[in-house]
Symmetry: C2
């Protein structure tokens, strides 16, 4: 299937990301029917009020009946059950993707449960915020964001092409790789910052935290993300998270040794290295219009 032949996108899960994908589909693909589903009454009600999709289904099976592309936007821990409930009800050749933050486990469940009647491709739009819920959804949340698309050797090439195009039309900067590579990279650039932020907050006395300046507030921001979602992420990418913590602890102890021995040159060179590397990253992101 080519993107131009896509008639219906169904989004299951209408939180911050699912809701934002739905709004972006309505904006960028006016000819595609956008169907939404949430297992919560209140969320479906809110989605109708906000006009998030063309149609909000009350029933999961009904919502996918005519889906050319299904986007699963629920927490990772629900994927297995959801795939089991949907497997026999998806139209033949339906393309299934998701927006979860880890990909190895998602591919495993899809391969084991969905079978070959439909085509699973992984997606991870690197967008979001520490906020959660449909009320924070925006039709431009994905604009300029990176989106990693994941495929195994056996993944259908046409399905990969369609999913890549889909995210591009929604304004994403798409990169395709294996699920293992995705989980390794994101372990370092996303899960480790989350763990650092949480460790920083937990290591700080609440009374002293009142003296926190903007530095502390920003360094700890992601710790305000939803604990249950992040628990799923860490459990489904535990090896990389464990390895990432190991690396950061090593760097912290290197700084600690330099400070303890009052090695001015070493302290300054470690801080300067971080300064330079971050400057290069920011420059790269500005050049790629990823920081707006």
């Amino acid at each position: 299937m080519l993107l131009k032949d896509l008639r219906q996108v169904t989004i299951v899960g209408l939180g911050l990301v699912g809701g934002s994908v739905a709004l972006a589909v309505r904006r960028a693909m006016p000819r595609v029917r956008c169907v939404g589903y949430s297992h919560r009454d209140a969320t479906r009600q809110k989605a109708r009020e906000l006009g998030v999709a063309d149609y909000i289904a009350d029933d999961l099976i009904e919502s996918v009946a005519e889906a050319g592309l299904l986007i699963v936007a629920t927490p990772i821990r629900t994927f297995e059950t959801l795939f089991e409930r949907l497997a026999d009800h998806l139209p033949a050749d339906c393309i299934v993707t998701d927006v979860g933050s880890t990909k190895v486990q998602a591919h495993r469940w899809a391969d084991a449960i969905l079978g070959r009647r439909v085509h699973y491709v992984g997606s991870h739009p690197i967008a979001g915020s520490e906020k959660r819920g449909l009320e924070f959804a925006r039709d431009d949340l994905l604009s300029g964001a990176r989106c990693v698309v994941t495929r195994r050797r056996s993944t259908d090439a046409d399905a990969v092409g369609l999913v890549e195009q889909f995210w591009q039309v929604l304004g994403c900067n798409v990169h395709t790789m294996s699920p293992a590579e995705h989980d390794r990279i994101l372990g370092y650039v996303s899960h480790v910052p989350h763990l650092l932020a949480a460790a920083l907050v937990n290591a700080t006395d609440p009374d002293q935290m009142r003296f926190a300046g903007k530095g502390f507030v920003d360094t700890s921001r992601v710790a305000s993300g939803p604990a249950n979602i992040w628990t799923d992420v860490l459990l489904t990418n535990s090896d990389n998270a464990v390895r990432g913590i190991h690396r950061v602890v090593k760097e912290l102890l290197r700084l600690q040794t330099a400070i303890r021995s009052r090695n001015t040159r070493q302290i300054e060179s470690l801080l300067e290295k971080a300064h330079q590397r971050r400057a290069e990253m920011i420059e790269f992101k500005i050049r790629n219009k990823e920081l707006l």
Copy 2:
């Protein structure tokens, strides 16, 4: 001296914070003469162009000749030499303060070098950014910021009162404590986040960093601060920095153990604790109008 009798404020060092203090004095204390000095020709030139002070002196000694209040806004490593150069030239009863990020060492140098002819009080306005230089100075940088004023038992009470009032008039939320307490608290809420940010960047492969999302960008922001300034900070507060790293590493290893043993409940409870504590801090800061 009472604040209403203050005739002249001299600011030595016209970077981001020094320049912002000068601009704030001009805005909030129009009857006080604001004199600035920088050892760099180009900075003095720029300060004149931007109208940062009523008068920009070409000579350090000249700049303090009639100062009722002297604010040292240079890197901490320069304090010792600066105090030595100024000691014999400050007007009797001049009040001396600074804006450095650590206070124990500043008090030590002041006590040893400035003597009892003038009155030293420490200050640390908790404001700033990863940017540096006069071109980023703003007359509202201090508005709503916390400012810690530090005093030892021997510090002149009237001088403390004047310095407290001075920062209040500039819009700060002032807290007075001992230099040791300041360094302990700021070690945890300011120096540790800086070290974490630097360790995170140094632990991450630059190619992988291209996949960083807003989480990584924010968690690492303070690593873009000037390495030399931060080296001074860490060297003059090394015990607390070392202790702070120890605490954070302990929390990171606790998370690592929970993830490695796939202890869902423990992972979720550690993340939830961080979530809650940060929510309380943000709520406190919003209530105190410190996050604008």
